[in-house]
Amino acid sequence: MEGSGVVTVYGNGAAITETKKSPFSVKVGLAQMLRGGVIMDVVNAQQARIAEEAGACAVMALERVPADIRAQGGVARMSDPQLIKEIKQAVTIPVMAKARIGHFVEAQILEAIGVDYVDESEVLTLADEDNHINKHNFRIPFVCGCRNLGEALRRVREGAAMIRTKGEAGTGNIVEAVRHVRSVMGDIRVLRNMDDDEVFTFAKKIAAPYDLVMQTKQLGRLPVVHFAAGGVATPADAALMMQLGCDGVFVGSGVFKSGDPAKRARAIVQAVTHYSDPGLLAEISCGLGEAMVGLNLNDSNVERFANRSE
């Protein structure tokens, strides 16, 4: 880190106060502790408490949930650090926060206030249309979205320690989430049965680094923790994501845009643990009140957040 000169060069750790690196095992480790859990979007300390009481394994601190970002339009940015601090004070579970894609200064700010995970998210407006954050420069771990295997492995190469399939946030419609999970899982199944000689071309085709493609082939899964996101609104949606092979789910607008958030949050948490028990799923799905209003994705007025980044 010496000799970085007068100019503050991004990439030299210059803007980050401590140069001590955080090993990748520690970054992935927290994600591994979140497995089998639900991460909920919250906009204030009170909602964070409801999420914690329901059994969420982490909360995502936001100014507006994706459904409101969609409805209100405009530029969506990182939340006010004050809000994130208040939420951190209110709960003992990990607190995540979103930074715009490519906006590494927002990520530095989030690291400075000590959030537990940064979500480099397409739900916020893009800051850089071409590049993502170089996540190796941070001690804090990142989660990134993907629509397919190639995108997932590109994010892992950039330093993401956790992947979430993008789905379509703020719609209450699970169809895109299913598409993206199926795409990732399907590609992995194809890869598993592939001859080693064919992996080079496959890596080129999906535009992913060869070593990570090979590692994925050997493991038979993504090399990092893989959550589902974007459109989960009911316990059944959550269990569907788990049965498709995800390690856990993010619930955005689905909880706090519904009739009875506390009850629904609790039901979704239970659904993720007992995802393969239809009897229990039936029991917990009863009488949850109104679900969030869904959006039909065939409507051309609905913007696709998922297509904002590659």
């Binding site: 502790m33 979140l34 009481e53 982490a58 959030v115 537990d116 643990t273």
Partner: protein, 253 residues
């Protein structure tokens, strides 16, 4: 082949089952009280202790877990599991959380702070090395880890970790216990054993070193008859995904 139960409510239970598999032991996922009847030792994995406590509460697991511990069956808790097993926990969420108890010590949740203070270190583990061989140190991965700030006389300390006292004042968790801690000695306990209960604040399941698992299995065999494999509940064995899809790689750095 011995059967070990792994509490599978939330957290790193796949990692524990994978570590057990490496030792040729079948780990079964435990989600309901009645499933506890089929195993004679239990691992409570790492995860979010509040989330795990809520899920245990929803399905009325606490009485069954307490009984399991009181019967003297071997139980091992890592991180969140250690919090579960402690008689007292500090730094809890508002309203507290239910504990299983049994281990005579006080555990401080998120003792080391948030994720940015999570770390990896080589711990000195004389007891483990003398029983299991191998190097004198163990690669301890601490993820938003708890620490044992007080242990009773019957508790055997298996590992401790030196802390700078100013580290405590930087922890921003809104707890009143902070002041006491600053005056405490500069070491915290991170691994203990009391009879058949073992607790580690770090995550052996995230490393390739299976010595802690093997140590625990020896505890399990000493205390009870060998479980016959016919005791594996049919439901659990079909539920367990035999494809190793759940095994993440072990990261070396």
């Amino acid at each position: 082949m011995a059967v070990v139960g792994v509490l599978a409510l939330q957290g790193s239970f796949h990692e524990h089952i994978a570590a057990l598999r490496k030792l040729g032991v079948n780990g079964v996922e435990i989600r309901k009280p009645e499933q506890l009847l089929n195993v004679n030792s239990l691992i409570i994995p790492g995860g979010e202790s509040t989330a795990m406590a809520k899920l245990a509460e929803y399905h009325n697991l606490f009485p069954a877990l307490r009984e399991f511990v009181q019967l003297g069956k071997p139980v091992w808790g890592t991180c969140a599991g250690l919090i579960f097993l402690a008689n007292k926990a500090a730094g809890q969420k508002i309203g507290g959380q239910e504990l299983v108890g049994g281990l005579d010590c006080t555990v401080h949740r998120n003792f080391f702070g948030s994720q940015i203070q999570s770390f990896e270190t080589e711990l000195s583990v004389p007891e483990l090395a003398s029983k299991e061989g191998g190097p004198e140190t163990f690669r301890g991965i601490f993820i938003r880890a708890p620490a044992i700030i007080e242990a009773g006389p019957d508790v055997q300390v298996l590992a401790d970790y030196p802390v700078r006292s100013n580290r405590l004042s930087t922890a921003d968790s809104p707890t009143e216990d902070k002041k006491e801690n600053v005056e405490e000695e500069s070491k915290v306990i991170v691994a203990v054993r009391q009879g058949n209960i073992m607790g580690t604040a770090f995550h052996p399941e995230l490393t390739a070193d299976t010595r802690w698992h093997s140590y625990f299995l020896k505890m399990a065999n000493v205390s009870g008859e060998e479980a016959s494999s016919s005791l594996v509940p049919a439901e659990a064995s079909t539920n367990v995904n035999q494809r190793p899809l759940n095994d993440l790689p072990t990261f070396q750095s």
